[in-house]
């Protein structure tokens, strides 16, 4: 059962392997050149497992000690995960111990794969999602550790490779778009984020975006539910 789930899960994680190794290496190198030993990216990639926050954490560690600010920043950067939990409430229901690791490891990429992947009927869903999470966690952890160890020795032109994450979210968005009959919610998310990005700039637009999405979905609940086809 486990083997079958692993074989079904692995192909879904290949783009993440490319993306996480690249970003993980970049993160490890960044810590390395900021003067931290490889222990830092190794431990942080293992226990935080959230890419964008870990990059910000480097500057937090270099700045004077400010615990309240650190916690506030973390909550703001990570707030979008609340949405992932709400979307997964139903799917994680009834899973045994696996549930705790699935929630712990639910980064953007893991959530997107676990939510959208069409899991074959004869594959155990719990183990499938567990392997997706575990593989992604491992890619990120190994990339960050290697980056921290040998980062400064690597010399090859990988500029643009980070686009693999953008391409993956574009494809996942498109798959979801093709699956649904009406596109109200997709448009709310896309337009809300775009408008907030233009209004608030690249660093402060995620919380306003979440507020916009919640407001949009609340305001248009009737037409969205009437249209049906929510998948």
């Amino acid at each position: 059962m486990r083997r079958k789930a692993f074989q079904a899960a692995f192909p879904h994680t290949i783009p993440i392997f490319a993306g996480f190794w690249f970003l993980g290496l970049a993160y490890g190198i960044y810590m390395n050149v900021s003067g931290f030993s490889f222990w830092y990216p190794m431990v942080m990639s293992l226990i935080i497992f959230g890419g964008s926050l870990e990059f910000v954490a480097v500057s937090m560690l270099l700045a004077p000690f400010a615990p309240a600010q650190t916690l506030a920043m973390t909550l703001i950067i990570q707030a979008r995960h609340i949405f992932y939990g709400i979307s997964m409430l139903d799917r994680f229901r009834g899973l045994d111990w696996k549930k705790y690791y699935l929630i712990f490891g639910m980064c953007d990429e893991t959530f997107s794969i676990n939510y959208t992947a069409r899991i074959p009927e004869d594959v155990d869903k719990g183990w499938f999602m567990l392997f997706v999470t575990l593989l992604n966690h491992f890619y990120w952890f190994s990339g960050a550790t290697i980056g921290g160890l040998v980062g400064s020795l690597l010399h090859f032109d990988t500029s643009g490779l980070d686009f693999v994450m953008t391409a993956m979210f574009v494809v996942i968005f498109l798959e979801q778009w093709l699956k649904e009959k009406k596109h109200y919610t997709a448009i709310i998310g896309l337009a809300g984020a775009l408008l907030c990005r233009l209004a608030f700039g690249p660093d402060d637009f995620m919380i306003p975006t979440m507020v916009c999405i919640l407001a949009g979905l609340t305001l248009f609940r009737k037409p969205i539910e009437r249209a049906g086809g929510l998948v």
Partner: protein
């Protein structure tokens, strides 16, 4: 920063992250029925989230300067085109990424 202060800082990053990931599961447990509005959100949110994540990936693109977001626009068109044509996730992602890397390393490197 001392080692203890570093450990506290990293610990707070873990705490904050886990708070956001576990919160919905703590508030809406398996034992009580989940409110209808939350069930609705659970179904309606994902499409909105994926739209949001696409923009999130592109947040540092500037239309008015640099390469005007052209490499991104072209590479996304290639990704979407490939996906509508073959509907092979890995092919679409790989194709789009290679296209972007080529654009960046060859075509737009001077910008």
């Amino acid at each position: 920063m001392t080692l203890t202060q570093q450990i506290i800082t990293i610990g707070l990053c873990v705490l904050g992250t886990m708070a956001t990931r576990f919160l919905p599961f703590l508030v809406f447990s398996d034992k009580k029925p989940t409110p209808k509005f939350i069930l609705y959100l659970g179904k309606a949110l994902p499409s909105a989230i994926f739209g949001m994540l696409v923009i999130y990936c592109l947040k540092n693109v500037t239309i008015t300067g640099g390469s005007h977001g052209l490499p991104e626009l072209i590479a996304i068109s290639v990704t979407v085109g490939l996906h509508l044509w073959r509907r092979q996730m890995l092919l679409s992602i790989a194709g789009g990424t290679v296209c972007y890397m080529l654009l960046l390393q060859l075509g737009f490197s001077g910008l």
